[in-house]
């Protein structure tokens, strides 16, 4: 078994992103598991950026720690990344752009390569140095260069056979470079896998469940959802780029009212603008899905760095009270299923569903063996289709709080949805009736009707409880969303070191089944793991389940939490327990 972390570092514009995605694709096609993440800055050219690809023949859940192979395309890469090198790491560096003298005599395997020269010599273009370096990596990793050659021919086919041939030559020049030897034994299982990032999996999951409308304003790290919908408009969906996020959510509400499954997406800043619209969806009981991919805040914060700082915000955003569902997918593949399920929940309970992503999950790619389409079922909830003899009550008071809705175009079921408090027909009780006895009673009944949907959700759905990994452990790491991957691996390492550690992870966070959650957590030694300063999940659990978690592992420096980070801190905590 081998488990290798490769980091390719250079300046923005040097193509490290395509290198990372190519390398992870080669691994995925070679029957291996891969996890591809990026470190980048809010600059288009220059600065310092890297791609990290972890490749293993075992199942992996996170980006990995340290660096086993560094590809340094400039001096900055040597200077900034060498602190993270694992012992005995390979360092491939471009001799025309960097020297590795500072790393000499430290047990690293230093491989200087004239990457630009090789690129020009073989492909006639310095840009091919990424292809050369991937060739060299494949040799070290012991992977079949034929897989890469096939990908190159697919990639460059449109540019002509000569370009394909040149790139294949460049790849082989790297692969056959004197002094580079195979160093790892990766055993692929022969099954090609998907390599896909969280946002794309989410977008395709939404598409699979019949989401036909996506509205958004560009904002990192949600923009790749927009890019998917824009590129796939010819599949019978509409993507609308809007003037701002206010328009995005209100268009989504309009489209959903008209009967189309609709979604909008943004990050925390854009979500702040969407907040009033969220309340409109709550009041008009319009089924919409909103994606909030968190980045480091407050305000503009670190636009290219990750955090889990918006959980309590999205749960409480908007004036007044209304039912909403908040779900934070724990992995790339879960983002696919969660997105598909979100529309069923939104339409079944006629309320907004918020999918809480974060930069790390949105933009990291991992291998997925397969997607199970049979799990994608479409349930559009209660829809009235035939007019009765009486005027249609769009907001009819029902025992479960859900009233059948009608789709505009259906005769005899017309109604006006109102952001004001209204009666069962949708007529206002906010102006000439406000404060009158009848209106006071109507307000109470209508508010109770809407809020009652929370009880109905908890009764009818079994998703609002945490997931326990490893029964009967002595300690549990408690986490939500994307942090789960690193927590699972940390627990695995701790167990390998003789400590009985499990993980309790949350995806469907709101509403919370308080009783079941309490039952699962009570009496256990818990360590809260989150990417924020205040421990928002711990706060939520204290408020909802009366569980007070004293020990916390919190990270809020913008970098994704790693298994090594959790393992180290958890050891410290357990030592003192």
């Amino acid at each position: 078994m081998a488990d290798i972390v490769i980091r390719i570092a250079a300046s923005s514009g040097d193509g490290v992103e395509s290198s990372g995605s190519l390398l992870s694709k080669i691994a995925a096609r070679s029957g291996l598991n891969a996890y591809y993440s990026r470190g980048y800055q809010s600059v288009i050219r220059g600065g310092h950026v890297w791609s990290q690809v972890r490749i293993s023949d075992a199942q992996i859940y996170s980006q990995g720690d340290g660096i086993d192979i560094l590809v340094a395309l400039n001096q900055d890469a040597i200077d900034n990344q060498s602190g993270q090198l694992n012992s005995g790491a390979f360092v491939i560096y471009d001799t025309s752009k960097a020297n590795a003298d500072v790393l000499k005599g430290k047990g690293y395997k230093l491989v200087g390569m004239p990457l630009i020269e090789l690129a020009v010599e073989n492909a006639g273009d310095p840009i091919a140095r990424n292809v050369v370096s991937i060739g060299a990596l494949l040799k070290i990793l012991g992977l079949d260069i034929k897989v890469f050659e096939k990908i190159l021919s697919e990639m460059f086919l449109r540019k002509g056979q000569a370009v394909v041939d040149n790139n294949v030559k460049a790849a082989n020049a790297g692969y056959n470079f004197a002094g580079i030897e195979k160093a790892y034994e990766l055993k692929g299982d022969g099954k090609a896998r998907y390599i896909i990032n969280g946002n794309t999996a989410l977008a395709i999951g939404a598409y699979a469940s019949g989401c036909k409308f996506y509205a958004a304003y560009p904002m990192t790290p949600a923009s790749t959802i927009m890019n998917w919908f824009a590129a796939n408009e010819n599949r019978g969906v509409v993507f609308k780029q809007t003037e701002d996020e206010i328009a995005a959510i209100n268009m989504t509400i309009g489209a959903a009212t008209a009967g189309v499954r609709a979604m909008c997406g943004t990050s925390g800043g854009g979500f702040s603008l969407m907040v009033e619209g969220l309340g409109l969806a709550g009041m008009t009981e319009t089924p919409i899905v909103v994606v909030e991919s968190q980045r480091t805040g407050p305000s503009t914060g670190l636009p290219t760095k990750t955090e889990q700082g918006d959980m309590l915000f999205v749960m409480h955003a908007s004036q007044g009270e209304f039912p909403r569902i908040v779900v934070a997918p724990r992995s790339v593949d879960e983002a696919f299923y969660v997105a598909a399920d979100a529309f069923n929940l939104a339409e079944r309970y006629q309320c907004p569903v918020i999918i809480l992503m974060d930069l790390f999950l949105s933009e990291s790619s991992r291998t997925v063996d397969s997607f199970d389409f049979s799990k994608v079922k479409v349930d559009r909830g209660k829809i009235a289709t035939a007019a009765g003899s009486e005027r249609f009550k769009r907001y009819e008071i029902t025992p479960d709080g859900v009233s059948p809705r009608s789709i505009p175009g259906t005769q005899g079921l017309e109604f006006i949805a109102a952001s004001d408090e209204h009666d069962e027909y949708g007529d206002l009780v906010s102006d000439v009736l406000a404060g009158l006895e009848i209106s006071v009673e109507t307000r109470r009944k209508m508010h109770e009707k809407r809020m009652r949907k929370i009880d109905t959700m908890l009764k009818n759905e079994n998703v609002f409880v945490p997931h326990v990994d490893t029964e009967g452990a002595d300690y549990y790491l408690v986490c939500f969303g994307s942090t789960t991957g690193a927590a699972l691996e940390a627990a695995e390492r701790l167990r390998a070191a003789g400590k009985k550690v499990g993980v309790i992870s949350f995806n469907y966070l709101m509403p919370m089944d308080k009783e079941k959650t309490k039952m699962l957590l009570a009496g256990k030694k818990l360590i809260d793991v989150e990417c924020n300063y205040t421990g928002q999940l711990a706060y939520l659990l204290a408020a909802n389940a009366g569980i007070d978690i004293e020990h916390k592992i919190l990270r809020y420096d913008g970098e994704p939490i790693t298994a090594a980070y959790i393992t180290e801190k958890a050891n410290e905590i357990m030592l003192k327990w």
Partner: protein, 285 residues
């Protein structure tokens, strides 16, 4: 077809919005559109209670946001006749950005702005169309901001039907609305609709002295003339206010250009099969 609901208007006695209500009702009746395919969308303000007076579909949405809601409806189902009824605060103040963008997109929406040059429902503050010097509770020393010229704004943003009506002339207003609905593309109808309670400056009498109908000599296909006419109130120190159709042109609507909606209403496109989803995933393998 009866387009009225059982809801009674709550406008102040004498409010200009009565005239606009009558005009919209007349326009719909004359067009005889199936009311189940009509959606009337409003924002917040006195005028925005309008949808409730109708027995069509619709939404009484947020302050300033009827245009995005209406756009979402049109993009989801281009068989719907979508009408926005709103006020000057909604359209030209808090929601002004949406006006620019819906105009340049040319979404097929008919927007009727009941422009009373005051915030009525919040009891009389200055609005984006209040005139310089207007004394309101928020401008007790007189308004010092240049008013927005909604027609010039809409024209320069690319609106394809730009008109102004006066609620004191509901027959003419009904004609402008009717033609706005028939127009294929975004139609803005700025409707001078006096607030009899809070606007003591721009009263019916004030308007009757100034308003005149654009004559047969006005060519609504002439953009330059339309701009000139739109600027006439400012140019004449608010002595002459033309009403009527300022400008109309043909340009494909957003719905006609969009890769998907050009083939028919989005709501009617089929759900993807698992094969379709597999195809979408293929390139990630």
């Amino acid at each position: 077809m009866n387009y009225s609901s059982s809801v009674k208007p709550v406008f102040c006695p004498g409010c200009g919005d009565f005239g606009v209500h009558a005009a919209l009702l007349r326009a719909l009746t004359e067009l005889n559109i199936d009311k189940s395919s009509v959606a009337i969308v409003s924002g917040i303000g006195c005028s925005s209670s309008m949808p409730h007076l109708f027995s069509t579909y619709g939404m009484h949405s947020l302050h300033g946001r009827p245009l995005p809601v209406a756009t979402g409806m049109r993009l989801a189902n281009s068989k719907l006749t979508v009408i926005v009824t709103t006020g000057d605060g909604d359209a030209y103040g808090i929601g002004s950005a949406h006006l620019l963008h819906v105009a340049r997109r040319n979404v097929d929406i008919t927007m009727i702005v009941m422009n009373n040059q005051i915030y009525g429902l919040t009891t009389g503050q200055a609005s984006p169309t209040s005139l310089i010097g207007a004394k309101t509770v928020s401008t007790p020393f007189g308004d010092i901001e240049e008013p927005i010229n909604p027609l010039a704004v809409a024209l320069s943003a690319g609106a394809t039907y730009v008109a102004r009506g006066f609620s004191g002339d509901p027959m003419n207003a009904a004609e402008l609305i009717k033609n706005g609905i028939l127009h294929n593309g975004f139609a803005l109808i700025d409707m001078l609709s006096p607030c009899v309670t809070f606007n003591t400056l721009n009263t019916y009498d004030w308007f009757r002295k100034r308003v005149y109908k654009l004559g047969a000599d006005h060519d609504p296909s002439n953009f330059g003339k339309a701009i000139e006419k739109a600027m006439e109130p400012e140019a004449t120190g608010w002595e002459k206010i033309p009403i009527g159709l300022f400008y109309q042109t043909k340009r494909p609507t957003y719905e006609e250009l969009d890769v998907t909606t050009k083939n028919g209403p989005l709501i009617e496109t089929p759900m993807p099969s698992s094969g379709d989803v597999e195809k979408a995933l293929e390139i990630y393998k």
